[in-house]
C-alpha cells in the first residue's frame, strides 16, 4: 500500500509543498489526483464538489495539470506538437475519420503566448530531443498552462535541474502564483520548500504526518519526514591515507547522447580514505564512474589503478584487478531480478574457482558461499534460492554490497549506495563502507545526498558540469559546499 488515508487540502493561489522521503507515497498520491491511478477509498473534491477522476482527461477537465518527474514529452515531436497533443486545434478535413486537420499555426501562436505571459522562453518549432532538460520542463509547464489549469502539480521538478535552472523554475512558480494558480510542489529537498512554499504537508510511509509553515526549522521538518531524529553521522576514526590507488588525469567522457559529460577531471583516491563526490545529479558523476569501470569510453586522459593504466580495459578486467563497484541504478545495473540471491552473489565471480572453471559451473559451491554471505551481510531472504526481485530494495542493495566486498579489493566504488534503501540498511551499508576503508581499501563514494557525502567522506570533491570545482574538507560549512555545487567559484584551494 503506497497511500494510507491521506488528507490534503490546497487553497487557491497557494504553493503547497508535499514533502517526504523517497518512496513515501507522494507521487502515488498525485497520480491518483491526476487520474493515472484509482484510489481504493476516499474522495477528491474540486472547488468543494466531489469529483470522480477516472483518467487524465477528467483531471484536465477539472483544471488539474501535472508535470511528471519523468517528462511526458514525445522526443521526436516539436514543442508545438507536444503542446497540442490531446487538445488539438483542427480545421475541417474529414473530422469524422481523422479528427480533422491540425492547425499548426494556431498551436504555435498559443505556445508563444503562454511562454510570453509567464516568462517561459522556448522555441515552438524545436524538437524536444534537442532541448536541454530545463527547457523540456518549461514545455511541460506550458503544456499544462495551455489547458488552462487552476492547479498545477510539479513532481520532483528540481531533481534534474542545475541550481540556476532551479532558480528560474522558482521564479516561474512565483509568477504562476501571482496569476492565481495553485501549485502542489512535490519534493524531498528542504531548502527549496522553505524558499517557496506557503504551506507544507509532510508525508511518511503513505500517511500524512502533519502540516507545517515554511518557517518551521529544517531539523523539525527533517524529523517529521523521517519519523525519528536522524542520526546521519557515522562514527568513524580519522582516516590514515596511504599510497594513491586510483588516479584520474584529464579524463574526458561523453554521455549517451554524445554530449560532453566529463570535461577534464583530475582525481586521486588513496588507500584507506573515502573520497566523496558531491554534486547535483547529472553533472557527470555517473559517466566518470562508468569510465573508470570500463563501461564507457574514455575519450581522453588517463585512469590508473595502483600505478597501472586501466583505461581501455574491459569491465571484467577492471573488476578482477581489485575494484568493487556498487552501481547507482540498482534494479537496472546491479542485480538480475530473475536470478536467485545465490546467482546474484556470484554475478562477477561465476567463472572463477571455486564457483566455476572453464565451461563448468559448480552450483553447490555457489549456494554454499551464498549462505555464508547472507548470514554475514544480514540479507533478509527466505533462502538463497529466492529470486532477488522478491527482496526489498535494502536487501537487494545488501546483496550487491556483499557480492562486491567478497573479494580482496584495492578500490571500492559506491554510487548512490543508499538510494531507496530503508534506514536500517542505510546504517549497515555505511558501516560496511567505513569498515572497507579501515582495512586499507580506497573508497570512491558518489552521492547526490550531500549529508551522506559529508558524514562518510574524508575529502569531498564537488563536481559541477563535468569538472571537479574543488576538493574540500567535510567540515566545510554546508553553505559553502552548496555554493560550489551551484557552480560558484571556490574560495580556497584543495584541502
Amino acid at each position: 500500500m503506497a497511500n494510507d488515508h491521506i488528507d490534503l487540502t490546497v487553497e487557491p493561489g497557494e504553493i503547497h509543498a508535499l514533502l517526504g522521503e523517497n518512496g513515501a507515497g507522494k507521487s502515488t498520491l498525485m497520480n491518483i489526483l491526476y487520474g493515472l491511478l484509482q484510489p481504493d477509498s476516499g474522495e477528491i473534491l474540486v472547488d468543494g464538489r466531489p469529483l470522480q477522476i477516472r483518467g487524465p482527461s477528467d483531471a484536465i477537465a477539472a483544471g488539474i495539470g501535472m508535470v511528471h518527474q519523468h517528462f511526458m514529452l514525445v522526443p521526436v515531436f516539436t514543442v508545438a506538437e507536444n503542446v497540442m497533443l490531446g487538445a488539438e486545434k483542427v480545421r475541417g478535413g474529414a473530422p469524422w475519420l481523422t479528427g480533422g486537420v491540425l492547425d499548426r499555426r494556431r498551436a504555435r501562436r498559443e505556445v508563444a503566448e503562454v511562454s510570453e505571459r509567464y516568462g517561459l522562453r522556448v522555441d515552438p518549432d524545436a524538437r524536444i530531443e534537442d532541448l536541454p532538460v530545463g527547457v523540456q520542463q518549461r514545455v511541460e509547464i506550458i503544456k499544462a498552462l495551455t489547458r488552462e489549469v487552476d492547479l498545477l502539480i510539479l513532481d520532483e521538478p528540481t531533481a534534474v535541474l542545475t541550481p540556476q535552472e532551479t532558480d528560474e523554475l522558482l521564479e516561474v512558480m512565483r509568477a504562476l502564483k501571482v496569476a492565481g494558480k495553485s501549485i502542489v510542489f512535490i519534493t524531498h529537498k528542504l531548502g527549496e520548500v522553505q524558499a517557496i512554499a506557503d504551506r507544507i504537508t509532510v508525508v511518511r510511509r503513505g500517511r500524512t504526518v502533519g502540516s507545517a509553515s515554511p518557517d518551521t526549522s529544517r531539523d523539525e521538518l527533517a524529523a517529521m519526514m523521517v519519523g525519528r531524529s536522524v542520526q546521519l553521522t557515522v562514527s568513524k576514526e580519522a582516516a590514515t591515507p596511504g599510497a594513491p590507488v586510483l588516479e584520474v588525469r584529464g579524463l574526458v567522457v561523453d554521455d549517451d547522447r554524445g554530449i560532453r559529460a566529463v570535461a577534464g577531471v583530475d582525481l586521486t583516491v588513496r588507500a584507506g580514505e573515502v573520497l566523496g563526490i558531491a554534486g547535483v545529479q547529472g553533472n557527470g558523476q555517473t559517466e566518470l564512474v562508468e569510465a573508470v569501470m570500463g563501461l564507457r569510453l574514455a575519450l581522453d586522459g588517463e585512469i590508473s589503478l595502483a600505478g597501472e593504466r586501466i583505461d581501455g580495459w574491459p569491465t571484467k578486467r577492471v573488476l578482477r584487478a581489485g575494484v568493487g563497484y556498487v552501481p547507482e541504478n540498482r534494479s537496472v545495473d546491479g542485480v538480475v531480478k530473475e536470478f536467485t540471491v545465490a546467482e546474484n552473489l556470484v554475478l562477477d565471480l561465476y567463472d572463477r574457482p571455486p564457483f566455476g572453471k572453464g565451461l563448468a559451473l559448480y552450483p553447490d559451491e555457489i549456494n554454499k558461499a551464498a549462505r555464508a554471505r547472507i548470514e554475514q551481510f544480514d540479507v533478509r531472504t527466505s533462502s538463497e534460492q529466492a529470486a532477488v526481485g522478491t527482496l526489498s530494495g535494502g536487501n537487494q542493495q545488501k546483496v550487491i554490497v556483499a557480492r562486491e566486498m567478497s573479494r580482496p579489493l584495492k578500490l571500492f566504488i559506491a554510487a548512490q549506495p543508499t538510494r531507496g534503501v530503508d534506514v536500517g540498511s542505510i546504517e549497515f551499508i555505511h558501516r560496511q563502507i567505513v569498515h572497507e576503508r579501515d582495512v586499507g581499501t580506497a573508497v570512491l563514494l558518489v552521492s547526490s545526498e550531500l549529508d551522506e557525502v559529508l558524514s562518510l567522506a574524508d575529502r569531498v570533491a564537488v563536481m559541477y558540469r563535468g569538472r571537479i570545482l574543488a576538493i574540500v574538507d567535510p567540515a566545510t560549512p554546508r553553505e559553502e559546499i552548496g555554493l560550489l555545487m551551484a557552480g560558484g567559484t571556490p574560495d580556497r584551494d584543495e584541502a
Binding site: 497520480n31 491526476y34 493515472l36 491511478l37 483518467g55 487524465p56 482527461s57 484536465i60 501535472m66 511528471h68 517528462f71 511526458m72 514529452l73 514525445v74 522526443p75 521526436v76 515531436f77 506538437e81 507536444n82 497540442m84 497533443l85 490531446g86 487538445a87 488539438e88 483542427v90 478535413g93 475519420l97 481523422t98 479528427g99 480533422g100 486537420v101 491540425l102 503544456k143 561523453d254 549517451d256 554524445g258 563501461l295 564507457r296 569510453l297 575519450l299
Partner: protein, 429 residues
Amino acid sequence: MTAVSTITVDEATAAVPAAGFWSRDRKVGAGLVLLGVLGAVLFGALATAQPARFTLSEDSGGAALEVGGTTGAVLFGLIAALAGGALLTGRAHRWFAYLLGAGVVGFVLSFLCWQVSAAPAGQNFMPLVNVVRGTFLLALPLIFGALAGVLCERSGVVNVAIEGQLLMGAFSGALVGTMSGSPWIGLVAAAAGGALISLLLAVFAIRYLVDQVVMGVVLNLLALGLTGFLYERLMQQDTKAYNQPPHFPVWRIPLLSDLPVLGPALFTGTIFLFLAIALVVVIQLGLFRTRWGLRTRAVGEHPQAADTLGVRVLGLRYRNVLLAGAIAGIGGASYTLVIYTFTKNMIGGKGFIALAALIFGRWSPVGALLAALFFGFADQLATYLGAIDSVIPSEFLAMLPYLATIFAVAGLVGRVRAPAADGKPYIKG
C-alpha cells in the same frame, strides 16, 4: 528494448569512434565509387557492341531509347562513380539523397546496358511498358502490406503477421467472392479476413501482452494452416462453388492512360492499383497532418505521454491494428480478385518483403511505396532476365529485397529508426 536498429549495444557504442573521416556520406560515396567502377569496367567489358534498346512499348517496336551496349555500361558506371565521388569529398551532404539516387540508378542502368546488349540476337531490347507495369503489379501486395505495417507500427504494435493478413485476405476474397458472385462483396470479405487476423494480434498483444513478434509468427502459421485446410477441404472438392472468384475489370483513366510508358502502367489498372496509390497519399497526409496522425505517432513513440494528455492509447492501437488488417486483406485480394484463383500458400513470403519495404521505407507511407516499387522492380527484372537467358541467376535478384533490408537495419546505408514504443505493450500506471 530499444527501437529496432537504432540501438547499439553499449559496448559497440564504445567501440565506434566518434564520426571521424569516415562519415556516413563518405562511406556511401566510397561504396558508390566502387560500384560505379565495377559497372564501368566489368559490365563495360562484358557488354557487346550491340545497341541496348529500351522501347517505349510492350514489344520491340515503336519509339525507343537506344545506346551502344559497351558505351552505355561504361557511361552509366562512370555516372555512378561520379556521384559517389561527389559524396566522398564530404562536402555534398545537402544533395545526399539525389547523389545516392543518381549513383544507384547509374549502376542499375550500367548493368542493364550490359544485360540487354548481351542478350541473344533479336532480343536486345527491354520493353519499358512491360517493366514499369510489371513493377507496379508486383509491388501492389507489397504496398498494401507495408501500409498495414505502417499503421500498426506507427501506433506501437509490431506487425509480423502481414503475411498471414495477406493470405487470409486472398482466401476470404476468393471464397466469398465466388459464393456471392460479386467482386465487391469479395473485397469487403477480404478486408474482413485480414482484419480477423489483426483482431487476434490486437487482442493478444494489447490485452494479454503476448510478445507481438511471437504472436505475429504464430498467426502466420495459423493463417497458413487455416486457409490451406479449407482450401483442400472445400475449394479443391468443388472449385466451381468455392474457388472461381469474379475479377475486377481493368479501368482506364481517360487522357492520362494515353501517356507514354506511364499511361499503360499507372493509369490503366484495376481498382487495386488506384486504391493503393490513394491509400499511400491518404495515410501519408493523415499521419503527418491530422489529429488522428498526431495521436497515432504519439502513441507509437511515447504512449505514456499520450495517456497523460487524455489520449486513449489502447483504443487507438486497436483501431489502427484492425484498419491495418483490413488494408492488408485488400492487398491479399489483389491476387484472387484480379487474375488468379486461390492456391495454398499463394502469398509465398511477400508479406515479409512488405515488412522489409516498411523498414526500408523508414516507417513512412511514401517511403514504403518507393521501397515496394524498388522491390517490385527487382522482381520484374528477374522475370525479364530469365526471358533473355541472362547469366544472372534469378534467385540472386530475388534475394535483393532481403539483403537490402539487412544492409539498411545494420546501418550500412544510413540508420533506420523505428517508432520508440514499437513492440512494447502499454501498461497503465
